[in-house]
């Protein structure tokens, strides 16, 4: 398990131990990865983050169309694996969790421990860091620093 924000690590480690999730991704609503577990290649993480954020954005719009303020969680059921996607508010803005699990876990267990993870993250989240101007010369350096934190290289 690797995270860009150190305060995320203890709650996420507890979630992983209790839920038996295979893959887990925490990201911002814009798809920026905060923490990951189980992914080997950075390209997979970036793709999963972008797709997860897009799926939640799409279902949010469907919800708006049918008069539901928002769908907080959705589950994609496969033959051997399932994907759980949910968003939640923190002091750092809206975050998204993407969890892939197999027959070692169940939707009920993942939901239960994800709710606990959210409660712990909300409590542990430091206040919003002051916004910094994104400069081209900083962008690549920060991106590389995030990839090093998430993949250790």
């Amino acid at each position: 398990m690797r995270s860009v924000e150190p305060w995320v690590t203890p709650p996420l480690e507890r979630f992983l131990a209790e839920s038996s999730a295979r893959l887990t991704l925490l990201m911002t609503s814009s798809g920026q990865v905060v923490a990951q577990h189980g992914f080997v290649r950075s390209v997979d993480v970036m793709t999963a983050a972008a797709l997860g954020a897009a799926i939640l954005a799409s279902t949010g719009e469907i919800g708006r169309l049918v008069g539901e303020s928002r769908f907080h969680a959705l589950v994609h059921q496969g033959t051997r694996q399932q994907v759980f996607l949910s968003d939640f508010e923190t002091a750092r803005g809206r975050w998204i969790g993407l969890v892939v699990f197999d027959s070692e876990s169940t939707v009920g267990l993942v939901q239960l421990f994800f709710d606990r993870l959210v409660a712990e993250l909300v409590e542990a989240a430091p206040r919003e860091a002051p916004k910094q101007q994104v400069l081209p010369e900083n962008f690549e350096r920060e991106l590389n620093a995030s990839l090093r934190a998430l993949f250790g290289r």
Partner: protein, 115 residues
């Protein structure tokens, strides 16, 4: 299949049983419940289904086929579980005053009707 809510209410009326839940074995989600307030049914359902699934694997690995009845004795009472076929698990939460024999009989009877 009998009406699940009716069966749960009958089971919950056994002396010492504080509540009962019918859980989807594959998902760990509640199908029907008859619980006292203060019991986190969602957590009990998810964890009891997981425990039952793991016990099923253990008994099958030991060549003893599927479990019929589980009794988890805790400091302040008991959690009982009876698989209803492969798809459902009947879970009862009992206090220390429960007559486990009677509760077991009622649960196996209900599980047979729900399977």
């Amino acid at each position: 299949m009998s009406d699940p809510v009716e069966l749960l209410e009958r089971l919950s009326s056994v002396r010492g049983i504080r509540g009962s839940i019918l859980v989807s074995a594959d998902d760990g989600l509640i199908v029907a419940e008859s619980l006292m307030t203060g019991v986190d049914g969602r957590a009990v359902a998810a964890l009891a289904a997981s425990l039952t699934n793991r016990m099923r694997r253990a008994t099958e690995c030991a060549g003893r086929r599927e479990p019929v009845f589980l009794q988890l004795q805790a400091a302040d009472g008991t959690v009982l579980a009876a698989p209803c076929g492969r798809e459902l698990v009947l879970v009862a939460i009992a206090g220390p005053d429960v007559n486990v024999g009677l509760a077991r009989l009622e649960m196996l009877n209900a599980a047979g009707r729900l399977a």
